[in-house]
């Protein structure tokens, strides 16, 4: 009697489990969408700052900026447009903060017309929070057409390549640019590049000729292409994708967007792995019997 009851209960239990599992396998996709949304948003709002290992190529850029004496001129070329903003924008912020913290003079520009407005907002925002003066501590030159030709012409005469800065002030009148006539007066150039013209252009037409040190940043997808350039010393370091930006933020000890982004990355990756485990659990609990073709 007891055995029968147990068996009955067991079959019932299995039936329930089966039913539940197969229902879970056909889980409304919108629930997954919701989970992804939550798991992405939370770390962005409240980053938990998981430890991030700093790779040598990022450390090199940081060290080089650290080694520059106060007042050295650094050129930051933001060669990307809004579509690469998620990865390259946090890099620009971190690099600028570092430069301002070290009291370096920063010259900003872009080779991408569609990135001009965004580049300007990075400079004005970071300068404002770091208490830096436009024109004396930094200069934003804006965009000039021509890609490689801009670099060549900057190498000959900066005031000719950019007669005025982005805001229409004559470059020759800017206090910060008094000592900067050509690219030869620049100590370090960093190009955050989403394609052409970008890091390659700066290397071929700038570094080779005018002798400044060159560092770079790029999207995660294009990073593998630049690693050989580090080995040969053509660039002295590289920030690759959001991860590169997060490593730089770690070095600066700031909890910025990239670190928050990496937390969100960790969270979403583990959510997906968790989902895969759950769906396999349900699958083995009996969902496979009712499963349709997938």
């Amino acid at each position: 009697m007891a055995v029968t009851l147990c068996r009955l209960l067991a079959t019932d239990y299995w039936f329930v489990m089966n039913d539940f599992a197969s229902r879970m396998l056909r889980l409304d996709r919108r629930l997954i969408f919701l989970l992804i949304t939550v798991v992405t948003f939370l770390p962005l709002l409240y980053p938990f700052g998981l430890p991030i290992r700093v790779s040598p190529e990022v450390q090199k850029i940081y060290d080089y900026v650290e080694s520059l004496p106060e007042g050295s001129v650094v050129l930051l070329s933001l060669d990307f447009d809004p579509s690469s903003k998620p990865e390259l924008y946090p890099m620009s912020v971190a690099l600028l903060r570092h430069a301002f913290r070290k009291h370096l003079k920063v010259m900003g520009m872009t080779l991408w017309i569609t990135g001009t407005g965004m580049a300007e907002s990075v400079f004005s925002q970071v300068a404002q929070e770091s208490g830096k003066e436009k024109g004396t501590d930094y200069a934003f030159l804006g965009y000039a057409p021509g890609g490689a030709n801009v670099i060549i012409s900057m190498g000959q005469d900066l005031y000719a390549a950019f007669p005025t800065d982005y805001y229409g002030v004559k470059t020759a009148d800017l206090p910060m640019l008094k000592e900067v006539r050509t690219l030869r007066d620049v100590r370090y150039t960093i190009s955050l590049s989403a394609g052409f013209p970008g890091l390659d252009t700066w290397y071929v037409y700038g570094k080779e000729k005018y002798g400044f040190e060159l560092g770079g940043g790029c999207t995660a997808v294009s990073a593998p292409r630049f690693y050989p350039l580090i080995d040969t010393g053509q660039i002295n370091g590289l920030l690759g994708g959001l991860r590169g930006a997060a490593e730089y933020e770690t070095l600066l000890d700031m909890k910025g967007k990239a670190i928050a982004g990496m937390d969100a990355q960790s969270a979403t990756h583990f959510l997906i792995i968790f989902l895969i485990m759950v769906c396999n659990l349900f699958y083995f609990l009996g969902g496979q019997r009712r499963e349709q073709r997938g």
């Binding site: 996709r29 060549i152 037409y205 080779e208 000729k209 073709r293």
Partner: protein, 424 residues
């Protein structure tokens, strides 16, 4: 070929040999008479046009000596006149820049000597080498205090008409073309060639059948590339086969496009298929329609079609980029049969996970042969298989021989297999 870079240099060789012999003896006398220089002047310097390029580049080579060391750099000088002012263009440690570092294949460069220095002078923003104009070079070995100068040699950069380094590429093209053409001819005579199953293609009939039963349309996409892409061409050919079936059953076909020319060609293809199926009356000109070429606006609109018209089957053939999953995931949710075929290897994981059947890489090109069973196309598959077998053999035998070469300590196999290397 002992030490010769290519044919282009040969005629001027003897003259130059003579010239530098003269110079050499003169300078030897000079050095001898002034005596006690610790450094030997670089010997046997020669300059030559770099083979297989579009001009603007000259190669220099000279004999290495046992005294070459990192602390005694070589300096390379150039001038436009033989007795003009020489300008330094390079400096490097004397134990670097050897002929063995040249990446060119043996059929252009012959045996590369480990005891010969090589330096390539390229036209750049500081030095413009104008084609067909002679330039004069000399190499100086220095140790900081004293220096020893080579003779002056000259050469002109020339644009070449054939890049011999790509000869293997050309031979492969010719051989493979011949194999394919012969295989096609053979298949015409003997049309019964065995073909293995491709499950995705068996499903084509099922997909068309389901669409007919349910009265819902079939959605067909030709990919994101334009007509010059081979994957797009394959997609249009498969479209023709599917359109024939669609025409026979009287099912509705919808082909949204990202490229106007592909659209125009597909209109022709579909029209022809309806004609071939004997249903020209059923052909609708608006079956092929253009949406937009923007990468993500296109899937937005196609998703809209999938959700609103609920096609019974979705075909994704051709080349795709990041938008692939945006197209297939909503399709999977509507429950349509999804068949994909692409040579975009980076998108294959997404098609595999969200489509019922996926033609992987080469299967896309094979599909039209399977669907039509025309001997011409089936013969091509035979040719492709022969090609695969050949390269498979090359890789296996090559790896074994190259390994054997290491064991025997000979580079001969390695050198031989440059035949299957890519040279620019």
């Amino acid at each position: 070929m002992e030490g010769e870079p290519g044919r282009s240099r040969a005629p001027t060789l003897s003259l130059r040999h003579f010239a530098w012999c003269l110079f050499l003896s003169l300078s030897f006398l000079l050095v001898y008479s002034t005596s006690v220089s610790a450094l030997d002047a670089p010997q046997a310097l020669e300059a030559f046009d770099m083979p297989g390029d579009g001009g603007g580049s000259i190669g220099l080579r000279w004999r290495a000596t046992s005294a070459d060391s990192p602390i005694t750099p070589y300096r390379v000088f150039v001038s436009e006149q033989e007795n003009g002012e020489f300008k330094q263009i390079a400096e490097f440690p004397a134990n670097t820049q050897y002929e063995t570092e040249i990446s060119g294949p043996w059929w252009v460069w012959g045996a590369k000597h480990p005891d010969v220095h090589f330096f390539q002078v390229k036209s750049n923003s500081t030095l413009r080498l104008i084609d067909n104009r002679p330039y004069f070079f000399k190499v100086i070995l220095t140790d900081g205090q004293t220096s020893a100068e080579s003779v002056v040699v000259s050469a002109a950069a020339r644009p070449n008409l054939f890049n011999w380094a790509k000869l293997n590429n050309l031979l492969i093209m010719i051989a493979f073309s011949a194999i394919v053409l012969v295989a096609i001819r053979h298949a015409r005579v003997n049309p019964h060639i065995f073909l293995r199953r491709i499950p995705g293609l068996d499903a084509v009939e099922e997909a068309v059948g389901r669409a007919t039963e349910t009265g819902r349309p079939i959605l067909y996409m030709t990919g994101s590339d334009d007509m010059s892409s081979l994957a797009t061409i394959a997609a249009t050919v498969i479209l023709g086969e599917i359109a024939k079936r669609v025409a026979t059953y009287g099912t509705d076909l919808k082909v949204p496009h990202r490229d106007p020319i592909v659209m125009a060609i597909c209109q022709e293809v579909v029209k022809e298929s309806y004609l071939a199926a004997g249903r020209p009356d059923a052909y609708k000109a608006d079956a092929n329609f253009f949406i937009t070429s923007e990468q993500f606006a296109f899937p937005a609109a196609v998703d809209g079609i999938m959700l609103r018209e609920q096609p019974a089957a979705n075909f994704f053939m051709g080349a795709y980029y990041a938008e692939s999953l945006l197209l297939t995931e909503p399709g999977a949710a509507t429950g349509a049969i999804q068949i994909a075929g692409t040579d975009s290897e980076h998108q294959l994981p997404f098609f595999i996970t969200s489509c019922d059947y996926t033609l992987i890489g080469e299967e896309l090109y094979a599909a039209s042969a399977y669907l039509s069973r025309e001997p011409v196309l089936v013969g091509t598959l035979r040719g492709q298989d022969l090609g695969k077998g050949f390269f498979l053999g090359v890789m296996i035998i090559g790896t074994l021989l190259v390994t054997l070469g290491i064991l025997l300590g000979t580079p001969v196999f390695r050198t031989f297999f440059q035949l299957f290397g890519d040279f620019k």
